[in-house]
Amino acid sequence: MLTSVIVNAIRMGTIFLFGCVGEILTEKAGHLNLGIPGIMCIGATGGAVAVHLFGGKVSSPLLVLFAIIFTMLFAALAGFLYSFLTVTLQANQNVTGLTLTTFGIGFMKFFSKRIYDQKFFVSLSSAFKNLFGLEKNTNPFVQIFLSHGILVYIAIIVAIICAVFLNKSRRGLYLRSIGENPATADAVGINVSLYKYTFITLGSAIAGLGGLYYIMDRSGGTQIAEAPIDSFGWMAVALVIASMWKPLLAAFGSIVFGGLSILDAMLTTLPLDKQKIFAIFPYLLTVLVLIMTSVVKNKNNQPPASLGLSYFREER
């Protein structure tokens, strides 16, 4: 029972983790991208397109690779659009993000309906699941660590790489300085726009993988158009706050969030309404973290200081 909860928590959390790490990179560049839910939808669509085009024609590993490439490409394009509007054209980030989310949801529902064939997708979903072929093994250790699909491992690796990048590398330092104080970064000769474009776009591409993971692995190809990817996207945005902008903390947080959001389905012995209570906890937890960071004001756990503000060089 416990093993099964943990396994499912990790898998559910993977969706949030992709979105969250993507959003962390974006927010470290000083941009609050509320378009992440839409971008995850667009990414999912990209993955679906790849499956539609290459499914059955190429080997399983190649199909997964193409799906990942397509997903990242679609999501990156959406992220690039967001960057263009908010960085170059200085548009309001909230408005742009919400528009992108509206657009992304419509985009996914509209296009995926036209290419989706349930039988076909379900049959191909096995390529994405169970990387080591150990799913049937009942050993708890194997279940928890070795029974997942490739994207679960990719998510964790990406989170680790991001953590190292942000804290240990030169470019990570530059990126953080932009989110904290873009005028300073500009004054020391860092190309603020280039960094913003790069990391908003990259962050979007990573977030998009969350969408692919859901449609092909978690849901096993059973749903696309009806997939509630947007609401997972908002969870991912919440997780950014709950993890205090730290990718490694996000990896653990994603499991907690994942656990809380599948508890209802796991606790089948409880009446339905009692099960539903658990769904509220991730959001309550996020609100609590948000309140705590603002009350305590520890300099190291704050949002990037210039989050949400456009940077215009001559306005100083």
Partner: protein
């Protein structure tokens, strides 16, 4: 080596928008092994000019030459490539980073803090700095932050250093230290430009002085061949002959009495320490001091915008400590603080003149609605009275020129019929004529028996306008002097803390106080509780 030109500017012009010309045909030469002072009043275009050299702005017209070659500095990165480093007045540092992280920011070198730390220490010992590379910026004092800024540009191998008002925020000891460092750098072959408007510093540190006036280049002279007076004349254009009348008014009882006031800054340090003074009706009390010596915090404490740590503030015999800003306004205490950007406090830039007129009075009268009609009438009366140039009463304030904006602010404060006026930098950035209009307004109020606290920058003006001048240095009173009996030099010495008259005499307690000594003691006790 000695006379090699490091940097040359030819006919530089820079406009902001269509109206403002910040620099007009400025030419300038900087040699190696020298410290050049760039002198000019506030708003004379010094900072704009330097921003063009450091790649923040791009000149509209003109040419920049470095080592005799034409140079295009389109971004700060370009400036670094030309080995130009600017130390901004407002530090460009990331608060959550350490000194070392800030120093290598944008430097494209490996993120190896150990290597960085030792190189930083090396530079520090070469020029005589004191720095801990692993300390975070938000834990640092102002002078430590400045040190980080300077090391940052040296670390990148800058040969041309530009310092924008570096002394404004430093203590006298820190200034001495900084100057020693600058001299060592000069002797090391660097070319240094220091922007300032403090003449004593110009005389002390620089080899040559270039003067700007209202965006135009006036000329360059060798420091050893000029006097402060000559420089002043170059700076302001004509001989300073301030014809500000000090109207004499019959002495009244103290209106505002402040004793042992201590106020903390935003970051928790002490900004104002045990300050006592009083203002009588019909008196202008000047407050002199270098930027950041606590003037702002003092004004805010009186206006109820900042909680006080200890002490008492008595208005007309009763305490106003703990009162809300609104209650203090209602008692007739008016505060107008002109910050550096002019619009930060006191006015709402995108509101119309009418709406700005009623900022403090919109709540008057019963009923839920604002009385815009009477505000409009007051606005047009003010426009006529102070000859404010504006298309209409409904024009947003931000579209007006600086002088007109300030006239609206000061005019509104006076129109509300206060009995105490606290005004900080009311003529900041104004032309001579507008300034005189403001002085006239203040004198007029003085004659009406209003008590005025005048926080100023220009000592000549303060000497002519004020009755008494209180000099602050690092939040402490250095003394209160009669404007008619003192000299600029004396005040200058007190401002920098070289002369402390408060050691000889206790200031700030009126003999004819509204309260008896016993009542003061009671008030003190109440405060403690």
């Amino acid at each position: 080596m000695n006379n090699k030109i490091a940097l040359e500017l030819r006919n530089i012009t820079k406009r902001f928008g269509t109206k403002v010309v910040a620099n007009k045909n400025v030419s300038l030469t900087l040699y190696k092994n020298e410290i050049l002072s760039l002198l000019g009043e506030n708003g004379s275009g010094k900072t704009t000019l330097m921003n063009m050299i450091s790649g923040i702005y791009f000149p509209d017209e003109g040419e920049i030459l470095i080592d005799g070659q034409p140079a295009v500095i389109a971004s700060p990165k370009d400036a670094y490539r030309y080995k130009i480093g600017m130390i901004h007045q407002h530090f460009k540092l990331v608060d959550t980073f350490t000194a070392a992280e800030n120093i290598i920011l944008g430097n494209n070198e490996p993120y190896k803090l150990k290597v960085v730390n030792s190189r930083v220490k090396e530079i520090a010992s070469k020029y005589g700095f004191d720095i801990d590379p692993q300390k975070k910026i938000h834990e640092m004092s102002v002078s430590e932050k400045q040190t980080v800024e300077i090391i940052k540009v040296l670390y990148r191998g800058a040969d041309i250093l530009i310092l924008d008002e570096p002394t404004a925020v430093l203590t006298p000891q820190e200034i001495e230290k900084l100057f020693a460092v600058l001299r060592r750098m000069r002797n090391d072959g660097k070319a240094i430009i220091i922007i300032t408007h403090k003449l004593n510093e110009v005389m002390e540190i620089s080899d040559r002085v270039s003067v700007l006036r209202k965006g135009e280049y006036v000329g360059t002279v060798n420091t050893s061949e000029v006097s402060e007076k000559m420089l002043t004349e170059m700076m302001v254009g004509k001989k300073v002959d301030l014809k500000i009348d000090r109207v004499s008014v019959e002495i009244k009882k103290p209106l505002l009495e402040i004793r042992d006031l201590t106020v903390k800054s935003d970051v928790g340090t002490t900004s104002i320490k045990d300050v006592s003074f009083y203002i009588r009706g019909g008196e202008i009390l000047g407050v002199a001091g270098i930027t950041g010596c606590g003037q702002k915090e003092l004004c805010e404490a009186i206006a109820g915008l900042r909680p006080i740590a200890s002490g008492s503030i008595m208005h007309d015999g009763s305490s106003i400590v703990g009162m809300s800003t609104r209650e203090i306004i209602n008692r007739g205490i008016s505060m107008s603080f002109i910050p550096e950007d002019r619009l930060g406090m006191g006015l709402a830039p995108s509101f119309s003149i009418t709406d700005n007129m009623m900022l403090k009075t919109y709540g008057d009268g019963h009923g839920p609605f604002v009385d815009r009609k009477s505000a409009r009438a007051r606005a047009s009366a003010l426009i006529d009275k102070l000859s404010i140039v504006t298309p209409s009463t409904e024009t947003p304030v931000r579209r007006l020129s600086g002088g007109n904006v300030q006239k609206i602010l000061v005019g509104r404060e006076i129109e509300s019929g206060p009995n105490v006026i606290i005004t900080a930098y009311p003529v900041r950035g104004l032309d001579i004529n507008s300034s005189y209009q403001i002085y006239d307004i203040l004198n007029e109020q003085k004659q009406k028996g209003v008590g005025i606290l005048f926080v100023g920058e220009d000592l000549d003006v303060m000497l002519a306008l004020c009755d008494k001048i209180m000099v602050l240095c690092h939040g402490e009173v250095m003394g209160v002097v009669h404007a008619a009996k003192t000299t600029k030099e004396e005040i200058g010495l007190m401002m920098t803390g070289s002369l402390d008259k408060s050691e000889l005499k206790e200031y700030g307690k009126a003999k004819d106080s509204n309260l008896s000594e016993e009542e003061w003691k009671n008030a003190e006790k109440e405060m403690e509780e």
